[in-house]
Symmetry: C2
Subunit: 512 residues, 2 copies
């Protein structure tokens, strides 16, 4: 499978491993340039991209973290969360791994991210390192605003949709293009089996929304949901190795009247389910009332909680309203409870928000939620982009990431219209990788603009292969260019013709 | 031709004409919704979109402005520019037309843009209404920061590229998707004929870069360029009816050393040509030294000057540098000279600029250039987006338009790689229309968010046809949805299945 999906060789690239002082091997992508230099890039493809690696889906990926996990289990007698380690001043192998990974090819020692910086950010609750010990196939990564902006790709079949094999292929396809985490939002049949297959074969953290499976267990009847069936679902998914759960514990009875006044009501599936449940039972959200018990479960597996924004706005008309910000305040409270229980916390955010209202979202999130990592869906800066909502949301996503959001959930071209196919997944992932990278550059993140500079130098020197291989989608860049190129060895291309190439003309001035 | 390209009927839409008090008929797009209401939208398609209209390319479009032009010619004995009329307190039919057009379907009288507002903005030099009397086929439109953000689509064959017919089809294709102006950047053979065909068949302002044709006239030998051949080219294009010229008069000898220090030197074709010419002749830019004469020519035809940024940065490394801002200051000076000569002025802007450096571009443009309309290419917020640069640039474009840029030049997916085909033109135009609209919404432009609100209401009420028809690309939205839909009369679709539709669940709470 990796032969066809992960074609690094074709792009003058290879999967390499950088060793830390303590012998940890960190996977990176190395691009060889036409001028004989090399560029090291962050790599989400895992061992799949390694030359000559052959994969057996039934066997799954190598369990790279097992040794570390067992060593700690022996030492402490139980699983401890990365937050517990961080609070206690302990740098874990996962933190070491992450530090190397974040530095990409940076050579300036003074700008490098250290394992201590990673520990300290986790300890403060400003960063999350999702790492369920039951998912030892996962390569450690970090989500926090002092690190590279991450992106998540959603996959998952609906009741009417696709197969398990298709979902695995979507997951691998997503990491090939740069997805840092993958959420499995399956709601149809074979939820358990689909998730199992994805976990055993994916080297990035996997997130889920457990209420979806809980609801399937009660045959889709929202009124029949209860704490017990939800708790069993959590335990089942913790045991499988899910790394983070979206839990809609922040939507409360008091918020519902505000939501019902809206133009588009509640657009979060989890949010609408909990609202309906509360409305029918005339009782407070059981995810809220049982939140401490939830934390006790999550803590045992180091599953991070991603506090879902059940009241995210589904239209510009509803952006930044009482419903949304009321819930955000509750998410802040819940975050404090989780961290007090050594559970790592992410806060989810909108949604549909016009550009002039985006910054307020970030400002209030920082204020209410103690700088816990913010994880947004877009935001989409208009409602009229149907068919182009990867772009509507990339605009808002790039902006909010620049303002401080740690992870962006991708949105595909099919958003609001249909389920994405493979092409849509690629388009969505690359689009969001671009938005995330633009934010890294704007934030002045160490090592970020270096890739742009390499690209620009290659452009000015007509090193076409390097331009392809340094771009986020080398296959597409090459294809577009080759379709029209006459001779790539010439120092001009078919776009402007020989008389009108600005860079060629400029070079002729320089070389006088 | 219009039968196949302009399919308004299919989208429950039609071309309608709104009459002003003085009897001027303004073309708009009217969308009929499933709830029996109607929405009026800005329309760039011209008479092509009118039901049963058949077009003859050889005959060209109806000359809708001829009567107004001849009346004024008779009255004043010569052509006067819109700026002259505006300065003299005269509201022209073009200004009236524009006011109606800008208001879209707005019913709130107090928020409406008035003809007097249009006149006053033009008089202040804060807006431009391109209107060469030799292009009477053109429907009046306005470029300025108190009006809807406009977008331009570039077309044009290169020495190695496409045919005249293809270029016309690209122009019509671009206006179908919403291009407000079209620039013909042809550099190959048949420049004159291509431009003639485009002008006679396109109802939006046409811009060109006359130095390209001047260079062809001297067989591509930059050293042989001179004022006389350029002047003849200007006159030729003025007579044909070009509405605005990009003129690289702001790049001076003193800027060149700064440009040569850059990572990517000079990336503007016009800029590199003038730099090379100055370097060879060791003389100041002849477009600068002859600028007053240029204004005298342009004034006679009301051709607006778009002062080209020959030193726009071609990489993040070069953004906001001395070369760029040095030229911008010169553009400000030239703008004052042009307006003193009653010539309408646009200022061109970058380029490649990281998000955190975008605002400075807008701030300095306002400061140096007396608030003349800013017209930018992107900016692209990263250099590594090859194959996705319509997105890299839409992110920067949406932001700078929100900050006050009046017109965005589209960038296609093929930027840096190849010439765009029809699909690329559509993708680029719709992407920039989205960026422009997002900016209109963020600026609180009257009438802008209303379309989003209509869309959101349609979404919440599962009016699928209305969602398609209110989006920027109804064909794509419909296609995406229909490919997966089971039954569009059901109040759920295939995306979430019947149990997980948030909006359906929310409505069930509301309806209790």
């Amino acid at each position: 499978m990796n032969k066809t999906i992960f074609n690094y060789k074709k792009n003058n690239s290879k999967r390499v491993y950088i060793s830390t002082d303590s012998g940890i091997k960190v996977g990176m992508k190395e691009v060889s340039l036409q001028n004989d230099s090399k560029v090291l890039l962050y790599d989400t493809s895992g061992i799949y991209a390694k030359e000559n690696y052959t994969h057996d889906i039934k066997k799954g990926l190598p369990k790279i973290r097992t040794e570390w996990i067992e060593k700690n289990l022996e030492k402490y007698g139980e699983f401890k969360t990365q937050l517990w380690f961080a609070k206690n001043g302990i740098i874990t192998p996962e933190m070491e791994y992450v530090a190397v990974r974040e530095n990409q090819g940076l050579t300036n020692e003074s700008k490098k991210i250290t394992p201590e910086k990673v520990r300290s950010e986790i300890a403060k609750g400003r960063a999350v390192l999702p790492s369920n010990p039951k998912h030892p196939e996962c390569e450690p990564m970090i989500i926090g605003r002092d690190f590279l902006v991450k992106i998540n790709a959603n996959i998952g079949n609906s009741a009417l949709g696709s197969s398990i094999e298709e979902e695995i292929e979507k997951a691998l396809w997503a990491i090939k293009w740069g997805a840092d985490t993958v959420m499995d939002l399956s709601t149809g049949e074979n939820i358990h089996e689909t998730r199992e297959a994805i976990l055993r074969n994916t080297p990035v953290p996997i997130g889920t929304v457990p209420i979806y499976q809980a609801l399937e267990k009660v045959n889709g009847i929202i009124e029949d949901l209860n704490w017990d069936v939800y708790k069993q679902t959590l335990l089942e998914q913790c045991e499988q190795g899910v790394d983070y759960f979206t839990i809609h514990a922040g939507i409360l009875k008091e918020h519902i009247p505000y939501a019902l006044k809206r133009t588009t009501g509640i657009v979060s599936r989890g949010g609408s389910i909990m609202a309906k449940w509360m409305d029918y039972n005339n009782t407070e959200n059981f995810l809220y009332t049982h939140f401490v018990e939830i934390c006790h479960i999550l803590k045992q597996y180091d599953v991070a909680v991603s506090l879902g924004d059940g009241l995210r706005p589904g239209s510009l008309a509803d952006a930044n309203d009482e419903a949304q910000f009321g819930e955000l305040k509750t998410l802040g409270e819940l975050g404090r409870i989780a961290r007090a229980n050594d559970v790592q916390v992410i806060i989810e955010g909108p949604g549909h928000v016009q550009m002039d209202k985006i910054k307020e979202n970030m400002d209030l999130q920082l204020k209410y939620c103690d700088e816990a990592p913010f994880y947004t869906l877009g935001p989409l800066v208009s409602d009229i982009g149907a068919g182009y909502d990867h772009i509507t949301s990339a605009i808002g996503g790039a902006m909010i990431a620049w303002y401080g959001t740690a992870m962006l959930c991708y949105v595909t071209t099919k958003e609001h219209l249909a389920l994405p196919n493979k092409d849509d997944v690629r388009e969505g992932v690359v689009t969001f990788k671009l938005a995330a990278h633009a934010a890294d550059v704007a934030k002045g993140h160490p090592g970020a603009i270096e890739r742009d500079n390499e690209m620009s130098k290659a452009r000015y020197e007509f090193r076409w292969m390097d331009q392809f291989n340094l771009s986020l989608d080398p296959d597409r860049a090459r294809k577009f260019h080759m379709e029209m190129i006459i001779n790539s060895d010439k120092d001009y291309c078919g776009m402007c013709g020989p008389h009108f190439c600005a860079m060629k003309i400029t070079r002729s001035i320089k070389n006088k």
